[in-house]
């Protein structure tokens, strides 16, 4: 798959397979195209060439309705993007009720169960601006999960958080990984990637330069560009 914005070729040729229940961590410098790749996968951005497949179906095919595809793919953004005019509960039930046509009572029951599972049961009636960043990001995760997605895309979900709030969000992701959720995660948290990833993919120059299980990629990077990137991260004290 490739993606250009005008003349600017951001993704030159991405070839990536995510197997069910796999957790792939996508690492790479800022501006390397991690967000663009995730947005192409759930069709928020149209791909320039190539295709994206979900469970044996080509979702980039012209006959496919992107709105139907997006119901099956959850995405969580760096800046949470909760709906500020809705309570936490409404944020979570909006998708199921409007897109999946789940009855209201059932959607609320499911949402409350998810909130309880991730320790936010008492926040259901609050508006997002009453919550800490970590709580908002957990609600954003729950909002995506409420759609029962087949794939979760996480775009640097801890980058906007104060350091002491990062752990609570990473714990949610860990729990999802253990529960067998298939995830594609763009992240700068190398320790975390080493911990939960089935494989780590390093993105540079519009390509996946190197892709390997975390132990291998972090201990024995083969490509010079990977080595240089990891050295910079180590110097910054992030690994």
């Amino acid at each position: 798959m490739t993606k250009s914005f005008g003349d600017h070729e951001v993704l030159r040729g991405i070839d990536l397979v995510v197997a069910p229940s796999e957790v792939i961590c996508l690492i790479g410098a800022s501006g390397s195209g991690k967000s663009t790749l995730l947005r192409c996968v759930n069709l928020l951005e149209p791909v320039t060439s190539g295709s994206v497949w979900l469970g044996g179906q080509e979702i980039t095919a012209p006959a496919i309705d992107p709105d139907l595809v997006r119901r099956h793919i959850g995405i969580v953004f760096q800046s949470y993007n909760l709906f500020p005019h809705m309570t936490v509960l409404k944020n979570i039930t909006l998708g199921p009720v409007k897109a999946l046509r789940v009855p209201h009572a059932q959607a609320e029951g499911d949402a409350l169960a998810l909130l309880a599972r991730f320790g936010l049961a008492d926040r259901a009636g609050d508006y997002p601006d009453r919550l800490s960043g970590g709580q908002q990001q957990r609600v954003a995760m729950i909002r995506a999960l409420a759609m029962s997605p087949r794939l979760m895309l996480l775009d640097e979900v801890t980058s906007a958080l104060d350091p002491e709030l990062v752990a609570e969000v990473l714990d949610v992701i860990r729990e999802l990984a253990q529960a067998g959720m298939t995830m594609l995660i763009a992240t700068h948290e190398m320790t975390f990637a080493r911990d939960v990833a089935s494989r780590v993919a390093f993105l540079a120059d519009g390509e996946i330069v190197e892709e390997a299980p975390p132990s291998e990629l972090f201990e024995n990077p083969r490509d010079e560009r990977t080595r240089r990137f990891l050295r910079r991260i180590t110097d910054a004290g992030r690994l």
Partner: protein, 294 residues
């Protein structure tokens, strides 16, 4: 992080000169300065060479009273009763304007190729009715439609044509107000809504518009204050609203006091709305201050 928004708003108000003792002294000072300014203005007015004449033609209490209550026997209308027509006209106009302007704004913001003809029509509509002076639109509707000699369309009350003219003119303005509101909602909100599988119209309906409407309420009310005054333009069509009633009184009794009565009545209508708008703006500001720290 641990600070509640309440703490913050208290600190915020102290920052702007409120709070405790300071507040009492501030109130005394502002009362004193208001009295001084008013006294100076009153003195200037009373000492002016033409003061007596002006007071007689503009502020004659008996004339003002008679204009307010009217006297059918002498052939003049009550300005106080006529203002009800202004009120009915702007209430009707406002209700229609909100719906029409919202529709126009949504059409203008649409992107689908199928809606292109509608977008062109909406653009033309806004350009024309925002560019032509409201009074000319009122004239065109009020004299043009009756001249067509159609059933229903040409046989309405002047007030109906007046409302129609105001609606045409103001919905073009208010459309742009709504559009600014829609544009003020971050694109990330659209991404978030669409990523939940919501369609473009659903994202508009449940995510964009509710946020847009909230931000446009103050500028919208501002336009409505202007509209309330502009109901006086309908007098050119012969509808007996406050301005026309004042005019009739003035030409019968040769005084301008009736216009002062009309002006005061308009103030009674617009000032509360102006204060309410201020209140909303202040509340919005407090909310944003509180939200920014959490």
């Amino acid at each position: 992080m641990t600070e509640s928004p309440l703490d913050l708003s208290r600190r915020g108000s102290r920052l702007f000169g409120g709070g405790g003792q300071g507040q009492a002294r501030g109130a005394a000072l502002s009362t004193a300065s208001t009295i001084v300014v008013l006294a100076v203005l009153a003195a200037l007015f009373l000492l002016a060479p033409g003061s007596a004449a002006v007071r007689h033609t503009f502020f004659s209490p008996p004339d003002m009273w008679h204009a307010l209550i009217g006297d059918p026997a002498k052939g003049y209308y009550s300005v106080g009763a006529a203002i009800w027509l202004n009120i009915r006209m702007f209430l009707a106009a406002e209700a229609i304007i909100v719906v029409l302007a919202l529709l126009l704004a949504v059409i203008r913001q649409s992107t689908g190729p199928v809606l292109l003809p509608l977008r062109v029509v909406a653009l033309g509509y806004v350009d024309v009715f925002r560019g032509v002076p409201t009074i000319l639109v009122v004239y065109a509707v009020g004299f043009g439609l009756p001249a067509l000699n159609l059933t229903v369309v040409s046989t309405q009350d002047p007030a109906v044509y007046g409302v129609l003219g105001l609606v045409l003119s103001y919905s073009a303005y208010v459309c742009e107000v709504f559009r600014a509101g829609i544009n003020s909602v971050p694109l990330a909100q659209v991404s978030a809504a669409r990523s939940l599988g919501l369609t473009q119209p659903q994202a508009m309906r449940y995510v964009i518009l509710p946020q847009a409407v909230r931000t446009v309420i103050p500028p919208l009310l501002n336009d409505f204050i202007s509209l309330q005054k502009d109901t006086a333009l309908v007098s050119v069509l012969g509808a007996i609203e406050a301005n026309r009633a004042a005019e009739i009184y003035s030409s019968t009794v040769f005084t301008y006091s009736s216009f002062v009565v009309a002006a005061l009545l308009f103030l009674i209508l617009t000032i509360p709305l102006a204060r309410f708008t201020d209140h909303l703006i202040a509340r919005d500001r407090r909310r944003r201050l509180a939200g920014a720290t959490i």
